[in-house]
Symmetry: C2
Subunit: 484 residues, 2 copies
């Protein structure tokens, strides 16, 4: 079975013919009162701009993430988990709605003058869980709107740069004597850029939230720029290394918070009935990852630890994406609504499997980051091939203000270097209408096959697959196939 | 004095130096109870896509608009009145807020998946008037959001394609025995495109709301395609003539509604204390006008009839724009808030003058029409020269779905004709970064002087003027001067 994104209409049509890939998940589970009591607690942890390569358990030999690695040892980590847009606000709305942005209305940033918001018709994860009898709370970064759509029962306070403090502040919620299971949405602002430039350090890297005075309860882990791992998509320059060292420090801060959180969960006596999911909203905040649809932007950490995992510590290769999260969590909760459809589907059934055949396609739909950054892209990504449609390819590729100003990018353009990672600066800035990559032979997505006659049939087939995806998910930008 | 768009900060700064161009308008008028009773009623009539050339009083010898002509005979008509964006929803938010769209947040269409809305911080005309003791009501097209920002006390019902019925339905509001003055916002959906194609007519023109069975109370005025006036910016083709005939019929329907409305106003006994303002939201719904920043898109009818006009029937040449409407109407009402600034200023002081020296610049700021139509343009237009900055000039010029499908446009592209009005089809679709026109010698804006070395100083000066405007009005797109 291939991934079949479905609209409600498509779903109804499918049901009418008696063939539904969604049927199992679309009927509200009927449970006995005893079973109701066994419904698990669920904690969804969302880091901010944490790349897939920057965890010990995902193969990084330098970064120190022992608590996240332990989570992976006890659960399953996904090697092919993807956001559907590499932009904080938009991605978080997909996580909480199970719908691509072109259909949920959160086309870009929510805050300040960007001012995007989801449609009132969206039924979000916390609201559905609350309706199903869950206690719901959130702590830390939110970045979606409107409140009524993404309503949580409780909003916990805490410094979102200090996951240790956040963990501590969750204790009353974790310990509450309440028969209801809980859903906790725990979102750090680490390791996002922020806090200005570290003027005292060589190359004036962004601080990534790190402070001279540190944070209460956190033992800061500092990194030597010489030792950090520079991924292939970034330039191995002093500026970039200086920034990566700051970034890694912020990641280690999250990790300590995760350690503290699990301690509190154990103390509460609920650890054995709690599902923990760790993800990031999008890739690392460097040009080449965040805001792009290249692999470093979309391919992210995803660790799922349930108390019932039998095949502990496995890596699962299913292509899952963030539109699947809401259906998956509702599946855990037995709270899948009968009368409402998502674009994603539950990946709970694959948690014990390493190699999965029927999860072999993912889609991405990116339109804005900041309101001034219109650059709609639509993507179909299979195991080997990936097609990107740059709808506004006539524009230079836009920059988020913080990425533009970064020491890494400014260092590149000021030096006049032609390469940025494996890609040329020119190719980064000026993109063709279609990009087709063979990820097996070209994992860095630098050799565009879209104009290669040998790949014409594949190109056409993937275009058609993309068009069907857009039609099924009611993408307003589908008209761009016909006219501007 | 040249137009000085000001932010609140700029205003405070100016005040601090003791020099305020806004001082007179910025102090809430203190009036005696007797004076309060004399505050005028105000009716703002907004037509939908009615071009400046399509009224008898603006020189069209074919179209029949006797009631609007009479309004102009008794008042003043502006020859240089401009919307600031030629897009319904966005323009209406400027009309009701006195703020350019890049600052009020209504960057594009409000309805359906376009989903733009103004910021909650906007203080709109109806809310300010209501706070000042006016009864406020609206009837017909609305197209702005959120409701709380653009709140009217009363929403009257009526078919917005039938201005006669709308006029009748306003009677209870006009006749109410209430000491308070009133503000009525009267918006037709005529002469917008709509109602499908007239399949029974040659060239299958859009119906522009016209129906076989007509409308209750309306004597339809029909036009012979052979006789309509084809403006220079449109192609003189059978398709275009067929559509213009439909369009003119819809305009005449509005005119009848205006006649009926004035009758009711007279019957109510309030005609002698009522200000009537007639405008359109943007230019005619044909490629070349609506959605563009060319003159036919921006330069619109504006008739102001007060009971106190001494120089009746004059034409005033002040360059006013729709950001001036809210300050002007508040000035009529003596309700200008002391603690809040608009981008526009009251043009009430010029109503008795034909030639005005100190209203010599207007600006336009367009970003979206539909959400899929990102094409930010910023414009400074003086009496003679006009500069357009096409920020996303790398894109083909986008089309509203109804303009793309129009018989006029499809007729043009299917015929393979290279000209569309005075402009080439190619020039219409592909625009340079800057367009500089000498409107005196080139009223149709076809000879771009931006690359002519003779005009370099003028180009630079107008760019600087535009940048200052953007800075003062806090335009997020100002960053595009520096990087994408």
């Amino acid at each position: 079975m291939t991934r079949q994104p479905m609209t409600r209409r498509a779903f109804v049509r499918t049901c009418a013919t008696g063939v539904s890939t969604f049927a199992a998940a679309s009927v509200m589970a009927k449970r006995s009162p005893a079973a109701q009591r066994r419904r698990p607690n669920i904690v969804l942890i969302v880091a901010d701009d944490h790349g897939r390569g920057d965890l010990g358990c995902y193969g990084n030999p330098v970064i120190r993430t022992p608590n996240l690695d332990k989570l992976a040892d006890e659960g399953v980590r996904f090697t092919h988990a993807f956001c559907t847009t590499a932009s904080c606000s938009a991605s978080r709305s997909v996580i909480l709605s199970g719908l691509y942005n072109h259909y949920n209305g959160q086309y870009g940033h929510q805050h300040a003058y960007h001012h995007f918001a989801s449609f009132d018709s969206v039924r979000s994860l916390p609201v559905l869980l609350s309706q199903a009898g869950y206690r719901t709370a959130r702590i830390g970064k939110y970045h979606v709107a409107p409140d009524a759509v993404y309503q949580f029962d409780t909003v916990l306070q805490g410094n979102d740069r200090n996951a240790v403090q956040m963990a501590d502040n969750c204790r009353p919620f974790l310990n509450a004597q309440d028969e209801k299971p809980f859903f906790l949405y725990f979102c750090t602002s680490d390791p996002h850029r922020g806090g200005g430039r570290a003027a005292n350090l060589p190359h004036r890297p962004d601080r990534f939230g790190n402070r001279e005075q540190g944070y209460w309860g956190v033992t800061e882990v500092k990194y030597d720029p010489k030792e950090v791992i520079v991924p292939d998509f970034l330039p191995d320059t002093p500026e970039c290394r200086a920034e990566l060292a700051q970034y890694c420090q912020a990641v280690s801060r999250i990790d300590q918070g995760m350690g503290r959180f699990v301690e509190h969960l154990k103390t509460s006596g609920k650890h054995d009935n709690t599902v923990l999911i760790y993800i990031s909203d999008n890739g690392i905040a460097f040009p080449g990852a965040k805001t792009t649809v290249y692999e470093p932007g979309l391919n992210l950490p995803c660790i799922v630890r349930t108390p019932w995992q039998r095949n502990k510590g496995i890596a699962c290769d299913a292509l899952v994406n963030w539109a699947d999260l809401t259906p998956t969590i509702l599946d855990f909760a037995g709270a899948t609504p009968a009368d409402y459809e998502f674009h994603g589907r539950s990946f709970k059934p694959v948690l014990e499997r390493e190699h999965v055949e029927d999860w072999d396609t993912t889609y991405a739909s990116h339109t804005f980051h900041e309101i001034t950054m219109y650059y709609p892209m639509r993507v179909v990504r299979e195991r080997r091939f990936k097609l990107i449609w740059n709808i506004a390819h006539g524009l230079d590729y836009p920059f988020a203000s913080d990425l533009w100003e970064s020491a890494t990018w400014q260092g590149t353009i000021n030096s006049g270097r032609k390469l940025y990672g494996k890609r040329t600066v020119d190719a980064y800035l000026h993109r063709p209408k279609f990009e087709l990559y063979d990820l097996q032979n070209d994992p860095h997505e630098v050799k565009n096959l879209a104009d290669d006659p040998q790949y014409k049939d594949r190109l056409d087939a993937m275009k058609e697959k993309l068009r069907i995806f857009q039609k099924q998910t009611k993408d307003p930008w589908i008209l761009k196939w016909n006219y501007e």
